[in-house]
Structure formats: structure tokens, C-alpha cells
Amino acid sequence: MSGDYKFDTLSLHAGHVPDERHGSRAVPIHQTTSYVFKDTEHAAALYNQELGGHLYTRISNPTIAVLEQRIAALEGAVAATATASGMAALATALLVLCSQGDHIVASSRMYGANINLLENTLPRFGITTSFIDPNDLAGIENAIQPNTKVIFGEVIGNPGLDIMDVEAIAKIAASAGIPLMLDCTFNTPWLLKPLELGANLIIHSLTKWIGGHGVAIGGVVVDGGNFDWGQNDKFSNIAGPHYAMDGINFYEEFGPAAFTAKFRAEGMYNFGPSLSPTNAFHILQGMETLSLRMQCHMDNTAKMLEFLVGHDAVAWVRHPSLPDHPGHELAKRMMPRGAGSIIVFGLKGGRDAGRAFIESVELASHLANVGDAKTLVIHPASTTHSHISAEAMVEGGLSDDMIRISVGLEDFTDIKADFELGFLAAAKKLKLKE
């Protein structure tokens, strides 16, 4: 070992060393609920966190731990904890951070389920949120209250594709003594490592680009270890005595990994949002090719943008790599390899033309996912964002005619031909209307 392993090497190897007894090169699937204790002392020691190890798969599992350690390595984090989905990761992280009466400052330009959780579910538990345009730095700063526990947003907003200025918002959070937590599903650590810009906690839906194959749902909470939980009295649930284990103080005991220790001891233990070991295995298979896939996603996205921008059937196109996008310069600076493989656009002929397009494409799949190796299309207003209010739609920068593409890895000439078919159908629909 002459230095630290690089990204591509870590994607293949991090977290796993073949065991001496069997020598399995691939990560074995430990499809087990429980682990045999060596003796009663060993059992008690695991429960009391005197030793590392596994005691029950709701809390941790050897296959899942490889996935977690691989993510932590790729992000440059102190630790990661995998969950059953990205939403499980977000909900559990917020419930570990916040208590009744607490407040969150969040981006108004986010995935519908993220907004639903903050706008409709958490208020029932006494946790409220102020939604702010992620580009309004002064607005974010002014929205922070004495009871605010976290700033949350998506680096690349879904589906509006707004770009958050991570470094600037991290400074606002740091000066307020609260962490910045980001949903980094759309960027993956291949495009951006936000911890290096001062973010503190990261959420991923592993279902998307990190898995990449669309066969397994999963999520993860990544702990940057760069937030001082004892700097003020806001986080006594982490920097004060825990209700079990003789009142362990995770901040004093685990230092930079205090959040993860609390997340596992309370979040995983009490809420049980565990990932299946088999899903962890599937996601690990995807991670092995993350770099290769992301490069191809970026290449095809560039070709798709060129195709759409010059097409007569297209009314408008939005992507951060286009010069007219408000976050263009910021995206170029933060993510020089590309700003993700989601494109949104509108067709001449509006919503009806869009419906005709979606129903006519054959290669592109009409479904509620992104980040698959295959090209996907959807109409957000009637699907992923149908549960949010009309006001929130406008606030979120969504329009009724918007079509979202998740650009896949097919040969681009085939995707282009497929889209031409869809555009033809949309044009026919438009003519019939006239």
C-alpha cells in the first residue's frame, strides 16, 4: 500500500477483505437475522458497545456493513448507516436530530416525498419546517430560529434541477451552530463530495445511480464527522446521556462518529428501518461500476441535451449544464464532471403532447424511478409530485407540461430514434387538436 486508494479502487474493494476460512472474493450475503454469541460476556459486551460486531440485523449486518463502509470511503466520511430506502434514511435522520418543538430550514425545490414528510408528517409530531428557495441565501439565513436543528436540501433538486451552493450554505449552518444535511442522490460521490465543501450529513437513495440497476431499494445516512455536537446545547440527545447503556454520552465516547452511534442505537434500534442483506449485495454489485456508469450517463446526457435543444418539437429544456440555467456557473464550479443525468423539458403542445410522447416511446421506460441504467421518462405533475399542493408546485418551479428524463446507458442513436417516434406522436396529437 503506497498511499490511499483512489475512487475506482474503493468502489470495487472498500469495506471487504476476503475471509480466511472461505476466501470468498465477492461479498457474501449474510442472510441472517442474528449472530451466535461466543459466551454471555461477549453478548453483553456487544450490547454495551464495548466491542465492534453484529448482534442483530436490525442494527447491523456484515453484508450491509461492507456497503456502509464502501459509501463512507467514497464520501470521505467517518461512517455510514444503510437503511431500507432513501426516505427511511431521511425520516430516521430527522427523528434522531429533532424533537417535539424543533424546526427545520429546508429547500422548497425538492422531491415530492421529501416535501410531504416535512410539510405534512413531521408537524404532527411537533416538528415544523420553513421552506426557502435554495438560491436565496439570505432567506435561508433569516429563516433560522433558536429551535432550528438542521438545514436540509437537495444538491440537485428533483425535478426542478435547482443547484444548491453547498459551500455558502454550509457556512450559514456552521455560523448558526447547526448541521447541513444534503440529499445527494442526484449527484453521487462521483460528481461531488459535499463533505469537502462543509456539509455535515448526507442522504442517498441507493436505489438510484449508486445501485443503478433498478432491482433493489435502499438508502444511507452518511456522517461527515465534521460537526461539533457539543458546541452548544442544541443537541443534548447526542452530546448528553443516552437513555440506555448506563447513560452513555455518544459525543464524549465516539467523538466524530457520535451521530452515527446515536443513529444506530436509537434510529436503527427503535425505528428499525433496516436494509435487507440481499438488497445490500445487489447495491454493492452496482457500486462496482459506479464510475463507468456515471461517465456514460454524463456522455449521453450531453448528447441528449444537444438533441433536445435543437429539436423543433421541444418548447424548452432545463439542465444545469445549459448556459441559461440559473445555477449553470455554480454547477460547473462544484461539479466539473457534469451536473447529473436528469433533464426536464416541455413539448410544444403542452401537457397533451407530453402525454402522447410518454405513451409512444418504446425504449424509454415510463416509470417512477431515476438513475437506472435504462432511460426513463415520467410526467412529474401527475405522478411523483401529484401529492403536493398547486402552490408548492409553483414554489418548487414545476410546470404542468414538464417531462423528466433520466438518461440511461443505451447507445444514444437508439434513444434518439425512440424519442423521434415520441415527438412524432406528440406532433400528431397537436395537429388533431388544431
Binding site: L51, P62, Q69, A72, G76, G224, E252, G255
Partner: protein, 268 residues
């Protein structure tokens, strides 16, 4: 626990148990630019096995206030002063890396206060190259990254951790970054100028265990073995594949070796 020593607020990890000076006291002494967090998987383990554990942060390190001490001798005196302030007559000192120099110095100069000695990834001298010294002064984050990279063996670099989901390198970087800005520089200068290791070690009559790492790049194995050979009652355990940060990389092996040593040797 929080403790006041020489007008400084000192943080001492006690392994999650209330400290009681009636029992056998184990003092875990951290290395350069480290803190009590070196001993996460030792302090709790021994505290729940009948030992009274003290894993202090030196001034300017971890959660302790104050400014970093500037010599190994000053650190040894500080450890003895800490024992005085807690009414501890004698303790087993367990050092890691720079903590080994502190332990050796304290055991030689205060033989009545040090019952037994544990030396983990240590040597009789820890010279520091000029480049690292310069980085610790002018580019701290680079110095930290270099030390964390060199300090970990193959398991560390492969992120194969006994604590599920944890990264050795990420944790090590953040642990060191949380210290006083001058902590690492002061520690490295203190290590570099300490020349009494061989003389001190040759005077130590107490039972001593050296736990050494096969792949140690910072205090290479041959220097650890030299240290063990110099000790009058030195024993050696070598942990295969381990790097310098073996208390974190191989906690179970370190704990077993230390526990066996404590069980098997008398306290005199």
C-alpha cells in the same frame, strides 16, 4: 469525566463507568495529535471488566482545554500529577506511540507510581522527519492526512472495520482535526527531541508488555522489538497485518493480549 488539573479543564474517558480509585487503575495515554478517542474500544472494554479506567486528553487535545505540553517529560509529570489529584497511588500505564515514550519516562522516573506497563506500537525514540514537522506547522490538514495514511495498515486502507459502517481513515482525520491547532506540532517536536528512551527503558523493573504491529510504518516493528529487548521484564505480542493505529484496527487482539498480560503478571 471532567476534572480540573493545574487550572485546566481536563476530559478523561472512564469507559462509561464512574471512576473509583479503590480498584486497579489503567491509564491509557494517547499518541501525537490524538485523544481519548484512540481508546474507544479499550476504555469501555476494560472498564466493564473490573478495571478503573482513565483515558485522559492531554491539554489542547480532544475535549480538554489548555495548551499542549511541550516535552515528553512534561507529559509524564502531568500523568503523575493526574494520579496525585485523583488519589491514585499506583497505576498500570498503557501508551500508544508517543504515549509509549510518556509511559517509559514515567515508569523510569516514578517507579513507585507505575505498577505495570503496556506499550502499543512504540519505540525507544520516535524521530520525526523535517517534512512532517513542517507540514504540522504550515499545512496541518496535509500533516494529518499523511499521518492517518501512514498510520493505518492494509485493513485500515480497505475500510474493513470491526465497528459496522465505520471508516478508519475518515474517523482518524476528523479526530485529529478536532484538536488544538498546535497540538500535533507540539507533540511531534516533543517526540523528536526526546532522547532518554533507551536509558529510561533499561531502568524499568515493572512487568511490561509490548504490543507491536507487523505493518507499522511509523514505529516499525524492528524498533518496537528493540524497545522490548531493552525492557528488563519485557514481553512481546506481534499482531499480523496491523498498522500503527492497531488499537482501532485490531481492538480484539489488543484487548486480549493486554487482558492476558494483566491477568498473568503480578502488580509489583
Amino acid at each position: 469525566m471532567k476534572h480540573q488539573l493545574f487550572d485546566t479543564n481536563v476530559h478523561i474517558a472512564t469507559g462509561g463507568r464512574t471512576f473509583n480509585n479503590d480498584g486497579e487503575v489503567l491509564v491509557f495515554i494517547h499518541g501525537s495529535g490524538q485523544s481519548h478517542l484512540t481508546w474507544i474500544l479499550q476504555s469501555r472494554y476494560f472498564a466493564y471488566r473490573g478495571y478503573q479506567v482513565l483515558a485522559p486528553d492531554f491539554p489542547g487535545h480532544g475535549l480538554s482545554g489548555g495548551t499542549p505540553l511541550d516535552s515528553i517529560e512534561a507529559m509524564a509529570d502531568w500523568i503523575i500529577a493526574l494520579l496525585d489529584s485523583l488519589d491514585v497511588n499506583a497505576a498500570c500505564l498503557v501508551g500508544h506511540s508517543q504515549g509509549c515514550l510518556v509511559t517509559i519516562d514515567a515508569a523510569a522516573r516514578y517507579p513507585d507510581r507505575v505498577a505495570r506497563v503496556g506499550l502499543i506500537a512504540g519505540a525507544l525514540a520516535i524521530p520525526v522527519n523535517d517534512h512532517l514537522l513542517s507540514l504540522s506547522d504550515k499545512a496541518l490538514s496535509k500533516a494529518i492526512q499523511a499521518m492517518i495514511s501512514w498510520g493505518h495498515g492494509p485493513m485500515g486502507h480497505m475500510h474493513d472495520n470491526t465497528q459496522p459502517g465505520h471508516s478508519f481513515l475518515g474517523f482518524g482525520n476528523q479526530l485529529m482535526a478536532a484538536n488544538n491547532q498546535n497540538a500535533l506540532k507540539n507533540d511531534l517536536i516533543a517526540c523528536n527531541k526526546y532522547k532518554n528512551g533507551e536509558d529510561s527503558a533499561s531502568k524499568i523493573q515493572q512487568p511490561a508488555l509490548c504490543i507491536l504491529a507487523e505493518k507499522d510504518k511509523m514505529t516499525p516493528l524492528k524498533f518496537g522489538q528493540q524497545m522490548a529487548n531493552t525492557l528488563i521484564r519485557g514481553q512481546v505480542t506481534v499482531i499480523e497485518s496491523a498498522g500503527h493505529m492497531l488499537p482501532a484496527e485490531f481492538p480484539n487482539e489488543v484487548n486480549t493480549a493486554l487482558r492476558n498480560f494483566l491477568n498473568e503478571t503480578d502488580k509489583s
